[in-house]
Symmetry: C2
DNA sequence: CGCCGAGTTGAACTGAATCAAGAAACGTGG
DNA sequence: CCACGTTTCTTGATTCAGTTCAACTCGGCG
């Protein structure tokens, strides 16, 4: 089974020779999350960053009509957190839920902040995470504004080829901002197009 | 005329008693940008954060069909920067252009970074900017995924009532991800709806 | 006065949504 | 290991929101 590990992830990204930090990391709670269980619900204040060691999470909203909208998938090696809720201490509009049985390390958001204050290298790492996040969000907005359903799907395959195999098509559709039926048709069209080329 | 000022903006957000920082801020280049002139073009690497003292900027992309997509409007008191390009040192996919004659303070992105390293309070401020940015982007994605053109327009009015009066409708449409004609119809519908209620 | 760009309106069109029904795949318990 | 129920995916028919293209209006300005 695929698995990642926060400690190795951090040591390869942060200069970890300070004893204090090493301790902080090692004392973090690692929890098992069964498929379908929640790490965050709408209305909660998000108090943790979640690092996925094994499994897969989804980060999503539900609108007034009951429709689900995926903001992010988080497979092993990824962080998920509602930064708006965590940073501004507001009730979240979102849910975080396990799509597969998962192992998740919980990092107190305050600890993240105080580590940033006391360790330069960690601050730089945190900064990089934030910039990465912004990069993803901005590119996605640009895509939503400019691309058709088919183009967005092709982009999804390009960026997350691995997720395609693990995530039900319904949820990919929800990520792309289209209905499952539409995605099915997009895929059909692509298949026949591909055929015609040969 | 509306105007903002980086120094007052910073002193009210950052603990500025360190002489070094004060100097840094005061030595920044303040430039005049005529309407239609560019601060960043597609292909450039973004080397500055732009703080708008007076006027209005637009931050946008142009797709293969030549269509323009607005990522952000920046009136006085706002920052604009392509963080993806600046942080990862990549050529930008975007343009930054003056919508009105503007006065802009240019902040070297490297200076921003090194100030963050040497002053805790500035680091916290910078962190807040990043989180604010993420909040905006995430909310916008959620809206693009879940809301109709009309709902997105109403949200725009709610959040940027002032911009509505300064920005040509075509560009608001581009921000919302619809055509100018569609926005015109959305507005017409809203007008008659409002009428009917009375 | 006449031009020009921005906004509006109309008519036809289209990409995607909706609703409904059937087929395939999946997991769970017997 | 099969059988059954459940979820996921596909397909078809119809509807609808938003696009496209074209013509027209309006207000500002040289």
């Amino acid at each position: 089974m695929n698995s990642s590990n926060l400690k190795t992830f951090l040591t390869s990204n942060v200069d970890m020779d300070e004893q204090i930090i090493r301790e902080h990391i090692e004392n973090l709670k690692k929890i098992q999350v069964k498929k379908g269980n929640f790490l965050l619900r709408q209305g909660d204040v998000c108090k943790h960053s979640f690092f996925v060691e094994e499994g897969l999470l989804k980060y999503y909203s539900i609108d007034e009509k009951g429709k689900q909208h995926i903001l992010q998938f988080a497979p092993e090696g990824w962080f998920v957190v509602d930064r708006e809720s965590a940073f501004f201490n507001q009730p979240s509009q979102y849910f975080i839920e396990a799509l597969e049985d998962s192992v998740v390390t919980m990092i107190d958001v305050d600890m993240f902040a105080s580590l940033s204050l006391h360790n330069q290298s960690f601050a730089l790492f945190n900064n990089k995470l934030l910039h990465n996040h912004i990069r993803h969000l901005q590119n996605r907005i640009n895509l939503l504004l400019s691309a058709t359903a088919e183009e967005r799907y092709l982009d999804f395959i390009r960026i997350y080829p691995d997720l395609l195999l693990r995530v039900p098509q319904t949820l990919v559709a929800s990520y792309l901002g289209i209905t499952p039926e539409s995605l099915s048709r997009v895929r059909k069209d692509l298949a026949t197009k591909k055929h015609q080329k040969q």
